[in-house]
Symmetry: C2
């Protein structure tokens, strides 16, 4: 357990420079900052608690860090509006306000986070859209900024708090359900990025195939953007398959809009000609014809859990939140739709 | 042009109380605040410029005020993500950061705004989702908080800056286009709330009917929520009509998802059996079958215009933005889809 003085001695630079580097100030050059953060991680730097408490009193504001293009929702039933409602419900009891910090399109997520920490707008942060390798965990830990993550990452440190959806579980259950319904050629759409949920979704898909004794077929894994257009391209690729899959698991429900259209253009009927299971229940999926089979979770409760985990990290509030778990994989329940009927003629 | 001292004399209360009321502090009772704000408006109170400039240096942060459930978008092509990109593009040139202030579900919009002004988190604000009567215009003007509005309101004061979409224009053009294509029974879906764009949309619809010499039919105006479920209910009502409309103009493209489903359930084909024109181009509308006919605008440019209007209000930046208009009605262009073919058998 080291402090700023030990870090400065170790690196042979001034305590002022170490402090400015840890606090993300812009007048420290990149190489020095990198060395300070690396040493802080190696030596197990622990930020001064008095300083933290002081800062926590400063703004009474919590920042929810979102990537540009994050679904903050159209309507009341989408992902972030309900998570935010749950967050605000708990935070407001303690006089804490939530602000959304949206990473600009042109800016690197990590640089944006460092800049937001340096700006001292907020007392604590919630990060989202975690990547497989995500330097934000080490940075926030080292900088002494209390935070909780919505999403896992290989880069999460043992002490970090996170909540994540059971992406691996839903992919596996989708495969098992389709298998039971007679499907043997089961495809999957996975994100074309390094977002961590993509890794989990594929792991669950593979676990499901293994349990069913099915061979993984590389041609049945479609890496596409988790949006309508990505779904349309999945449709294109499906139609071009030598041996077309009879079922697909989509990692995002919006993809189904584009997939349904592409099937319709080819005179195929979604559901009847291709079984579809999508990740999360949403209004679009509920009003598509056929209605999507998908998975449901209590988003408001998820938001409240995130807030409680965060409060358990803030000295001024921790006492009331001692029983809050450090990590949580959030369960989802299957919602039967019309999009995955049993295969008419199993082969 | 009055200052705090004149207001205090007029109301016979202390200058400190007047100042706290104008600044939205919570230790002023509601009745006193109401009296102070009313008098400030009546007497033409002008906030102290030095104070404003001082405050503008404080946070270098601009707040975008959103109602709970605002569409901050799923994906990159939806409304707020692109507007925000345009805003950030201009603001970042001046070292200003944008934070999103999301009104909690349980809180009144006006109370939320007062609280956010009192919190002094931001130097200036962008308000959205304006209502026909919207007390936020007078409150922000009186409080001396520089702001610009995305949306008009009957409550906007002559000096206020705003940008708004040409909602009346698109509703009118949709009616004219449907008339030219043989339709005489043209319905409209309008918001079931007091949001100002609903008023404008209906005005444009009525202007279009008048130009075509069509009588307004109260049964053809459907007040529903601007979401998938509202569209489904519009479908229910259409199917129950004594003399069913042959065409409909939707004030929100998401409604089409529910409307298409309801028509499909009844064995009707959207487009062929009911012509549909929806407000704004979006990925969902582009990938529905039939593709929606709708209206397009440059959302990034809209965001940049909002930022420039705001900067023209901030003494530290105004010099570079003297040519920015005070108000702007933003044009949209029609995008031909597949959802509004000419009527097969005009009656």
């Amino acid at each position: 357990m080291k402090g700023i003085r030990q870090l400065a001695e170790h690196l042979q630079i001034s305590t002022g420079t170490v402090s400015r580097a840890l606090n993300g100030k812009s007048d420290v050059n990149a190489e020095t900052r990198r060395r300070v953060l690396a040493a802080a991680e190696d030596l197990g730097y622990v930020p001064n608690q008095a300083g933290r408490s002081l800062r926590q009193g400063a703004s009474k504001t919590i920042g929810l860090v979102l990537n540009h293009g994050s679904s903050v929702g159209a309507g009341n039933e989408n992902f972030f509006p309900l998570v935010i409602a749950g967050l605000q419900n708990v935070l407001s009891r303690h006089g804490l306000d939530l602000v959304l910090l949206l990473c600009p399109r042109e800016e690197n997520y990590d640089a944006f986070l460092r800049r937001m920490v340096a700006r001292r707008l907020v007392d604590a942060m919630i990060i989202t859209a975690t990547r497989v390798k995500d330097p934000r965990f080490a940075f926030l830990t080292t900088a002494g900024m209390p935070f909780v993550s919505l999403g896992r990452s290989d880069s999460a440190l043992p002490g970090n708090n996170w909540v994540d959806l059971d992406f691996e579980g839903i992919a596996e259950r989708a495969v098992l359900r389709l298998f039971e319904r007679g499907h043997r050629r089961i495809a999957i759409a996975a994100p074309a990025s390094d977002v961590n949920l993509g890794k989990l979704f594929l792991e669950g898909y593979r676990a499901g195939l293994a349990k069913c004794g099915l061979q993984e077929e590389p041609d049945y894994i479609f890496y596409e953007q988790a949006l309508e257009e990505g779904g349309y391209r999945v449709g294109e690729k499906l139609l071009a398959s030598k041996k077309r899959p009879t079922a697909i698991v989509l990692n995002a429900e919006l993809m189904s809009v584009g997939l349904y259209r592409r099937l319709g253009e080819a005179g195929l009927v979604p559901g009847r000609d291709l079984a579809v299971i999508a990740e999360r229940e949403s209004p679009v999926g509920r009003f598509l014809l056929p209605r999507l089979t998908c998975f449901r979770l209590d988003l408001d409760a998820l938001g409240r859990m995130l807030a409680e985990m965060l409060l358990s990290n803030l000295p001024a509030f921790a006492e009331g939140y001692q029983d809050v778990p450090r990590n949580r994989i959030w369960p989802l329940e299957l919602v039967e739709g019309e999009s995955d009927p049993p295969l008419a003629a199993p082969d």
